[in-house]
């Protein structure tokens, strides 16, 4: 009970502190925090409270921004549950995106089947990319943090090379447009949200959240993964195959991130893109997983929170608030979550300072 309460309290305090710090930074630099909160409200509800206008396009973009980071959040969270730190969601996502472009451009198939093949290919590619650090950890005891960081950059340059040399991008920035059969695009959803980029991507995202919950909470496989995360030696003693768990956990983490690559490439966009630098979905995923406590529902909610921050960025910028305040808030929330021990220690101190009268009241 105490544990589940702290799982809610620590992130809530961290989020409050993060936004308070963001507001303080705005105040200190002569910007209005109120404008920022209006921008965030507008990005979630579509309603501009000042001009009293409503534009559902903002809601659509808010959902579009939340989808991939929920998936990278699941990716990071799944590895966390097995005691692994997957900084490599970014790279797994990019490899997934390469696979999505390949199947999208090169395979011909009827509508629904084609897009399913694209998603499958992206998941497979992401899983394979995740298997590398998993295998190296299990076989050679090489730390997954460093390997995944390095593989992120390998994936970035692999993607840029593939866009130009394999997919023959003419402008060296993006591939030709992927056929409609392979896209998650929906004119109905776009029309519903006044021309936003909202697409069917939310279906695989929601399914992934369900699968995550089921795998982790309801299967012996998930139980043994969690056991490895809690206590590797204990799990080994209990006869669990620790090394196999490490590899499978990283593969599944990679599958979620790879799917995010497909959702971006054939959902948000409709072509493969060469990137000057990583776009930060992997780091967003770390924030989402930490705030969501690595639980399915938590990842869903914190995905919405950080999706809102991302979606509000253009609105903030247009109102004279540097959009980078969003990164400052996100980073501080992560930092505050990391300071969990400190926050819990403070909470304990505050509780101990409470007068004993309160205890008696409860007892009577």
């Amino acid at each position: 009970m105490a544990k589940s309460r702290s799982a809610l309290v620590v992130p809530s305090i961290a989020i409050l502190l993060g936004f308070a710090l963001g507001a303080a930074v705005l105040l200190a630099t002569g910007r209005s925090p109120i404008d920022m909160f209006y921008a965030m409200l507008q990005s979630v509800s579509g309603k501009n409270l000042r001009a009293d206008t409503f534009n559902p396009r903002y809601i659509g973009e808010f959902i579009v921004q939340s989808m991939p980071i929920m998936l990278t959040g699941l990716s990071v969270g799944f590895a966390f549950r097995t005691g692994l730190f997957n900084i490599g969601a970014e790279g797994q996502l990019m490899v997934g995106s390469i696979a999505a472009v390949a199947v999208g451009l090169w395979v011909q198939a009827p509508p629904v089947i084609h897009v399913l093949l694209v998603l499958l290919a992206a998941m497979l590619a992401g899983g394979l990319w995740g298997a590398i650090p998993g295998f190296l950890k299990a076989r050679f005891n090489v730390h997954e943090v460093v390997v995944t960081i390095m593989l992120n950059y390998v994936a970035l340059y692999l993607n840029n090379w593939a866009i130009v040399s394999i997919f023959k991008s003419v402008d060296r920035i993006k591939t030709e447009v992927i056929p409609a059969t392979a896209l998650l695009k929906s004119s109905a959803l776009a029309a519903l949200t006044n021309g936003s980029r909202l697409n069917w991507g939310f279906v695989p995202v929601l399914l992934s959240i369900l699968v995550y919950w089921f795998l982790i909470e309801k299967t012996t496989f998930g139980y043994s993964l969690r056991a490895v995360g809690f206590n590797k030696d204990g799990a080994l003693y209990a006869g669990m195959k620790v090394n196999r768990s490490i590899v499978s956990s990283m593969i599944i983490a990679g599958v979620f991130a790879g799917l995010a690559g497909a959702v971006i490439t054939v959902g948000t966009f409709s072509f493969g893109r060469a990137l000057p630098a990583a776009e930060g979905y992997g780091f967003d995923g770390i924030a989402v997983a930490l705030v969501g406590g690595n639980a399915a529902i938590g990842v869903f909610l914190s995905g919405l929170l950080f999706g809102m921050l991302k979606a509000a960025q253009p609105l903030m910028q247009s109102q004279g608030i540097p959009k980078d305040i969003a990164s400052i808030i996100q980073a501080s929330i992560v930092l505050f979550i990391a300071m969990k021990y400190g926050i819990e220690y403070l909470m304990k101190k505050i509780r101990m300072r409470k007068p004993p009268v309160a205890v008696e009241e409860v007892e009577s």
Partner: protein, 314 residues
């Protein structure tokens, strides 16, 4: 041969910040604190150095004040990592990740406050090159190493020697390494683990700040979000590839610097023309993964790096 003569000075320019930042990582990790925030600290150092240089610029010493400011900014920023991971027992990788996100946010935010754009204004000269009188006239070697070289490259070499001396030849270095290998044993000998770890992280902040300042003032015309573009992670790679040893770090830094210079000139070298540029960019990262596998099983890195320090643990 002529190509090599032009490539080596450029490789030195690229290698310098890598070596300096990796030495920073060495102090931190040797004290037992993993510092994946090198990238973020470099960004903060680069932003501060570029801003101070732009403001002071007609002054011939502007870049040096910029570098000094970058070092200080690096120390201040790394305090966050030290406080979170030492006092509040935060996961060091999470804290480092947070700092990397924060650095991108804070620097570009401040650019918009100070310069009304998403980058600093451009400086006119940045750091000026120097030539060592006498030595610069030597045949071949003069052109390669002593003529028109950035003073920071010499600083990097000096720092390598100094680091080797401090870490392996002084009582301080012994204590620092003890905290990274077995903090409980170090504490039992009366060493302040907390103090040593703070020192390690703050030195890494100073050096990463210096590395960022060097990078922006020698390779760029202004600070942008892309100014550091992963150099902090290559520095981390240097640290591992160099087996947490100052001379190893120097070797790895020169090698990775050379591979970057090679990517620029690959078009001029017949047998490299066919290799796509992106493969050169990938090289340091792939080699590091391979190095990790090769080193695995042998205890090369500090044993306790990344672990939470629990004074009561046996």
């Amino acid at each position: 041969m002529n190509l090599l003569l032009t490539m080596i000075p450029i490789a030195l320019v690229y290698a310098t910040p890598l070596v300096i930042a990796a030495l920073g990582g060495l102090y931190s990790e040797r004290s037992g604190i993993v510092n994946i925030a090198l990238e973020g600290i470099m960004m903060v150092g680069a932003f501060t150095a570029a801003s101070v240089t732009v403001v002071l610029e007609p002054n011939p010493l502007a870049a040096y004040f910029g570098i000094l400011a970058g070092v200080l900014a690096g120390v201040v920023f790394s305090l966050l990592h030290a406080f979170a991971s030492i006092n509040l027992k935060a996961d060091q990788v999470v804290s480092g990740t947070a700092l990397n996100i924060l650095a991108g946010g804070v620097t570009v935010y401040l650019c918009q406050i100070f310069f009304d754009q998403q980058r600093t204004n451009a400086f006119t000269t940045g750091l000026a090159k120097i030539s060592l009188p006498g030595l610069a006239d030597l045949p071949v070697l003069g052109v390669l190493l002593f003529k028109d070289v950035y003073p920071t490259s010499y600083a990097a070499i000096l720092l390598v020697l100094l680091t080797w001396f401090i870490v392996y030849q002084t009582p301080f270095g012994l204590r620092l390494r003890a905290c990274g290998e077995n903090p409980q044993a170090a504490a039992s000998m009366g060493i302040s683990v907390l103090g040593m770890r703070y020192t390690g992280v703050l030195i890494s902040g100073a050096l990463a700040g210096l590395a960022g300042a060097t990078m922006v003032l020698t390779q760029d015309i202004q600070y942008t979000l892309g100014s550091v573009h992963g150099a902090g992670f290559i520095a981390l790679a240097c640290l591992i590839f160099g087996k947490w040893n100052p001379f190893g770090v120097l070797g790895a830094g020169l090698f990775f610097g050379f591979s970057q210079a090679l990517s620029i000139y690959a078009g001029d070298i017949p047998f490299l023309q066919a290799v796509p540029l992106d493969f050169f960019y990938m090289l340091p990262y792939i080699l590091t993964v391979i190095a990790l596998v090769v080193f695995s099983g042998k205890s090369v890195g500090p044993k306790a790096a990344g672990e939470l320090y629990d004074a009561g643990k046996r």
